[in-house]
Point group: C2
Chain length 359, copies 2
Amino acid sequence: MKTSPPRPLRQVTARSSPTLEDLAVAAGVSRSTASRAINGGDRVSPEAQAAVDRAVADLGYIPNRAARSLVTRRTSSIALVIPEPDVRVMMDPFFAVVITGITEALRETDVQLVLLMSRTDDDSSRTLRYLRGGHVDGAIVVSHHKADSWARSLAETGLPTIFIGRPWDTTFDVTYVDTDNVGGGRLAAQHLAGIGRRRLATVAGPADMTAAVDRLRGWKAGLAEAGLPEGPVVHADFTTDGAAAAAHRLLAEDPDIDGIFAASDLMALGVLEALHAAGRTVPGDIALMGYDNHAVAETAATPLTTITQPMVEMAVKAGTMLLEEIEAPGSHPEPVIYSTELVERASTSVAPTASAANA
Amino acid sequence: MKTSPPRPLRQVTARSSPTLEDLAVAAGVSRSTASRAINGGDRVSPEAQAAVDRAVADLGYIPNRAARSLVTRRTSSIALVIPEPDVRVMMDPFFAVVITGITEALRETDVQLVLLMSRTDDDSSRTLRYLRGGHVDGAIVVSHHKADSWARSLAETGLPTIFIGRPWDTTFDVTYVDTDNVGGGRLAAQHLAGIGRRRLATVAGPADMTAAVDRLRGWKAGLAEAGLPEGPVVHADFTTDGAAAAAHRLLAEDPDIDGIFAASDLMALGVLEALHAAGRTVPGDIALMGYDNHAVAETAATPLTTITQPMVEMAVKAGTMLLEEIEAPGSHPEPVIYSTELVERASTSVAPTASAANA
DNA sequence: CGACAGCGTGAGAGCGCTCCCACCGGGTCT
DNA sequence: AGACCCGGTGGGAGCGCTCTCACGCTGTCG
């Protein structure tokens, strides 16, 4: 066009990819038409569409996402927010499973998954800033602790957000998916009662995590329904070592218990250790249950009876719900709760096992 | 300025975040100066800088990434590419560890991690398109199989790329980090030879994966150095079940072996099962080693002697190398190889263990 | 005392895209 | 027959940012 200015209008950078303009020229249509053809082809004649399609193939055209999202205010990406990725969270297959599920939900879309892990407080304010900055269209937050207060401020920004695991604070407008931890806890109580154990105890998780609280609640309810007393409750931090220590305390206070429900498989492992150290056999003297159906539950010295939960489905659901929420904001769907199932293994079998004979 | 056009120049969208222009006005400087102040503050007077800083805080200004990357051609994000996230890969803590490490490397930067998982061929061409589309500044590829041919085409696009795990094909210009799988295999041979085992066999991984091939190579070298014959080699697919089947074959062919090296802990678990099923004790009859120092190695019925590798460090290194490569393209650093260590547990202890008495 | 750096600054163009609007032409309705 | 609609199209503005360039202004040197 205006050739008068001395400096070149566009430096031909060596390996710059073709622009929409180039595409349009190649296809013999206008930039507008090319754009329409690319984006679903509404109000585009078949001929024009075909010409653009061919040009796309020829040029290897790939739309510039930055330019697009600059004007649409959409980024075609969502964030997976993982607060406090401590060792526990990381070693759980949980993490991998959540990612797999979300990826699965995203697979037919061109939405990308951005990972946001905040270890420190500093990180989490950065994370928050990032989320508020409009860098993603939505977020999935793996909720853990009572202390995740910023979850609330996040939700308040209006960014479409789905929580995986019920957040501690649900007084604000929040949608989440979760597994039925109450039901799982009840299942554990029912099972142990069902195999004739009567003096039951539990090693519960931290009192500031909804999953732990719910499992404990279900456990108590199950005991009550079975007509059994509530029995001793000790708390641990979802780690193997923590649970071992808790189990020792338990045995010291109530030496005659005959069944223990540990609120996670990793903790059950610790309990198992402690029981063996104390000379008790499993399940001979004490029947033991875990929770999660973690890989170690199956490979443990005494394979653990445990509770399994459809985590992949849950993550997929979180992904699809988020996509829907992004597509049609304002709809505030109900929480989705997935039910849990019992997985029976040797640690609660009635007959003594080989490893029980170990001790 | 030009008030003549009938339509408003800028629709005041309800909750649109402040722009650089707004910032500049608030700070009483020009857009250019505001921009400079934000980006390192080069050639900006202290007063202007202070004014901008204050305005940033007041307005809660967050730069629009899309606009920025539109002009800079930088996205401030990198991709983690995981080809074929099958069950095996997912259940490994490997996955989580890699992500943790990379996140760690990124933490002082504002670079974001985008996850690209391609399960199907269809996915992987999409992945490739995405990477070539300039949507990320670089990529870290978790390399697995011989068949990952597109890794090459990726590398050829000139996108800064680091492989985690030596790619099968290194004839092209490729930088990678890896653990010393050869050394690890050798360590296994040395250890088993060291405790007096003489008729050694291995359950190796798939022959199309570099990690498996390297471990096997190291194993053979170690045997040779110990003056032992090469012994039987069976291949399995890195799964527990596959390894169990392989172990059965092994026992059928060579009933008198007294030591087995499984190229992964998960496989060692399968071997352990098979041995017990065949009435062999571990380590009494047969000493057993795994590889990876997976969580199950410790919790297995007979805790496994295994090889540990600094995976987090490796992942961190991959991250920092990528950042460097992005910063200063063209530098083609040497591959970095991390050494491995032996972790001794009951499965190779000389004295028979309790669980050995099980069988 | 005039020329010349060089720092700090602002104007303006433009990154690649979408979207609004005006336009054209052929069918349909009154 | 004229008004109208509507599918298909192109022109043009503008998203929010960076970056080049030109312009003062102060200080320093010849």
